[in-house]
Symmetry: C3
Subunit: 131 residues, 3 copies
């Protein structure tokens, strides 16, 4: 298992970690198969989507902010229920095809750490699922 | 493959199944790797999020109820389209890192069966994905 | 790895690809385990939900259209930010249990390509994750 450490800088942001995942995958005993990128946090997630135009990640963050408001009479006393809900929507892990020891993503795809309660120090776990 | 049976008690609730998944994983031929928790139903899902304060699961359930209303002019005649949509949002499976034969979750993480059309008898399948 | 090609016919639609996935899984070196259905695109996703009544897929598509409007002051200049956001909500891959060389889904489950920016030619990758 490989660990990736990411320092986020805002409360909500999608951080492109594609290069970091590629470096971690290169350290795994996996030539061809599937790697798991797993977020052990509960107010952050992982998503795979367009990485070419950063406006896409910005639009996704803004849609989530608007549709899952920060204050909406939540019961959870810590005041970050919105972040938990956003992480459930994105999911807390993603699978990445691996070929020849490197991530084999679609042409426009990037892997994002989805920060919803930053800034914080986050970690991601990258591990082998097959084969 | 291990089967977990869960009786839900309300139409919508997140049931913490972390201990049940740990018992199932202990029965799998998997020391270190990744387990799949798969929900074979179409009006229930699986999510990983905070299990320490039950208000988090309650807030998530309430957000979904509000944003995916039970009645909204759906075409599906069974009257539970909202439950299908909620299950698509959470996802119907989750991956769990396994170390030393036990789930290796993040500190605050728990695994939830997400019931959206209960109460019902539900089952989950827990299986090996690697390695 | 097996490739599935799908021609979509509308901007937004859920296309049942269960039979196509079964044909691809039959070609994989996998008798019992888990297959990954991976969408390499960024404006389409993959979901598993009810395939018996097509109204369910229609209701899900309509809910997404309403809640993630096509025009909402997005920054991304291509005008399809809604499609990227919808794909993040559904997810861009799903895992399918395999038994005896065939997908072992729940009774009412089907696998869908979720098109959000069609019509287009799409491809899906089907690959082994275990064991």
């Amino acid at each position: 298992m490989q660990r990736i450490l990411v320092s986020t800088s805002r409360r909500e942001q999608l951080v492109d970690i594609t290069r970091r995942v590629a470096e971690a995958v290169a350290q795994l005993p996996l030539e061809d198969g599937v790697a798991l990128v797993y977020c052990p946090h509960t107010t952050a997630g992982v998503a795979i989507n367009e990485g070419y135009d950063p406006d896409v990640a910005g639009d996704a963050t803004r849609w989530l902010s608007k549709r899952v408001p920060r204050d909406a009479g939540y019961a959870h006393a810590e005041g970050n229920s919105d972040a938990h809900i956003k992480a459930i929507i994105t999911g807390n892990s993603q699978l990445v095809p691996v070929a020849g020891g490197s991530p084999a993503l679609g042409r426009w795809q990037a892997i994002f750490l989805c920060e919803f309660d930053g800034p914080r120090e986050r970690e991601l776990w990258v591990t082998v699922t097959g084969r």
